[in-house]
């Protein structure tokens, strides 16, 4: 197929072409190699969970996809767009414009929510659609309220983040990310900073999202039961590589690799 055509969201090719593709990606922080010749692909609409010990590089995968971290070697494409430009400069080897184009397809939900504390909930969800997508405030607010309703927080639209519980903040953060209409949504340990009794409400929202077929989701989580429930595929990470991957049922009930078994034993008890 023609390369230019492959970048179009063509329905026929979409099923065959991965929306995310890492080919031999190596990421180093100084002398430390975090990802080593990393290969990984995600199909459109697929829900993939990354599990593994901390420091194994799971979050780095998301941060690279969100262009928060550059990588040194290999190739990465999102929706057919390569991250590196042929003559790209700077650590990202791409122009701001190119990075802007990549980011328009991907959104991220952070462990520490990172809501804007000086803005109301509604403003948090409308700010980027107005500033970046160029929506009118009225239109952005209309969409924001729909999204807030979806996460069960429409009545909190005039509150400020500090007035909300952690779980509510994270649900607002999910609405905020969705307001940019990403094709790919990344969740970086979305419940790790929450009190145990607040985890459920956030997982509930993510679970509902996962039932939507077009949204591609990549989750890093320590909630194993949840991972088993929502994902199409689970990848076990260790030392910058995927040691084992497969359907959640198989990974959780019959892991083939000893390291996977050890890890699951330690977290499931």
């Amino acid at each position: 197929m023609n390369k230019v055509l492959a970048q179009q969201p063509d329905a026929a090719s979409a099923a065959a072409t991965p929306v995310i593709e890492f080919r031999g990606v190596t990421k180093r922080f100084g002398a430390l190699t975090v990802l080593d010749d990393f290969n990984f692909a995600v199909a459109p609409g697929e829900k993939v969970t990354l599990i593994g010990p901390s420091g194994s590089g799971k979050s780095t995968v998301l941060r690279i996809l969100m262009t928060l971290e550059p990588f040194q070697e290999g190739q990465l494409t999102l929706a057919g767009i390569p991250y590196h430009e042929p003559h790209g400069k700077g650590p990202f080897r791409a122009s701001d414009r190119h990075l802007h184009q990549i980011r328009s397809h991907v959104g991220m939900v952070f462990q520490s929510f990172n809501l804007f504390p000086h803005m109301s909930v509604l403003r948090n969800v409308t700010e980027a659609p107005v500033a970046v997508l160029g929506l009118s405030r009225a239109e952005a607010e209309c969409r924001a309220i729909d999204l807030l309703r979806m996460v069960g927080l429409a009545d909190k639209k005039d509150h400020y983040p500090a007035q909300l519980s952690g779980g509510q903040q994270q649900r607002v953060a999910i609405a905020r990310a969705l307001a940019m209409r990403p094709r790919v949504l990344l969740f970086d340990e979305p419940t790790s900073a929450l009190d145990p009794q607040l985890v459920g409400e956030v997982l509930g929202v993510i679970r509902n999202l996962a039932s939507e077929h077009d949204l591609t989701m990549l989750l890093v989580t320590h909630e194993m039961r949840f991972a088993r429930e929502v994902s199409d595929r689970v990848c076990f990470f260790d030392k910058g590589r995927i040691v084992e991957e497969g359907e959640p049922e198989r990974i959780f009930t019959a892991p083939a690799e000893p390291r996977t078994r050890e890890f699951l034993q330690s977290v499931l008890g």
């Binding site: 262009t67 504390p117 000086h118």
Partner: protein, 230 residues
């Protein structure tokens, strides 16, 4: 006699009352110079702070050099330079404007450091969230970073405002007729310095007290989390 007001040296009180209108004329000049100088320092300081964070190394380095230079040379030297040296190169500015520029430049070096600290205090997660929402660097500064920085820097900026206010008498050396300069001239003509100089001291004390109270009030009124600019 000055500005149409004659002094009355009968008693210290009548003397004080008779020269008060003259000093108040000087006070307006002092206030104008401080207000204009501080406004310049606030704008220029922010520009310096942002340029210093530029991703273009040369721009960041050049800005750092300029800021360091402004900060490490005396205000009086900068003032004399602007007033006496620039005319040799065909740039002649009115005394008042020269004073405002000198004050603004010197204090912009200080305010740029305050801004820098304020910007660096914004958690990294805020930048990352803005990036994840595809906001540009400029939009991130405008909508996320600067609005959150403002409440944090108000107290320090207030200190610099008071400091600048107290430094405005320096402008009298380049013939700006501000309050202290006028008091001095009154003294020269009447051979009686105690009253005019004491009055200037008291007026400055009142000014700084009012300023500090105003800043304190502003600190209380501003929302701690920041104010959206748009």
């Amino acid at each position: 006699m000055m500005y149409g007001y004659a002094w009355d040296l009968t008693t210290p009180l009548t003397y004080a009352a008779s020269i008060l209108p003259i000093l108040l004329i000087g006070l307006t000049v002092t206030l104008q110079a401080a207000a204009a100088g501080f406004a310049l320092a606030l704008v220029l300081g922010l520009a310096f702070a942002l340029l210093r964070r530029s991703r273009i190394k040369a721009v960041a380095l050049a800005t750092a050099f300029v800021v360091e230079f402004l900060r490490d040379t005396p205000l009086l030297v900068q003032l004399f330079f602007l007033y006496y040296v620039l005319p040799d190169y065909g740039i002649t500015l009115p005394a008042f404007l020269t004073g405002v520029i000198a004050l603004g430049l010197q204090y912009s070096a200080y305010t740029s450091e305050v801004y820098r600290g304020g910007i660096e205090a914004i958690p990294r997660g805020q930048w990352e969230a803005a990036t994840a929402l595809n906001m540009t660097r400029w939009q991130t500064y405008r909508d996320i970073v600067i609005p959150q920085m403002v409440p944090r820097i108000v107290p320090t900026m207030g200190n610099y405002l008071v400091a600048m206010l107290k430094e405005t008498p320096v402008l009298s050396v380049v013939t700006v007729l501000e309050m202290l300069g006028l008091a001095n001239m009154i003294g020269e003509r009447t051979f009686e310095y105690l009253v005019p100089l004491s009055m200037v001291g008291i007026i400055f004390l009142l000014l700084t007290l009012i300023c500090s109270a105003g800043i304190h009030r502003l600190e209380k009124v501003l929302p701690k989390a920041g104010i959206p600019l748009r």
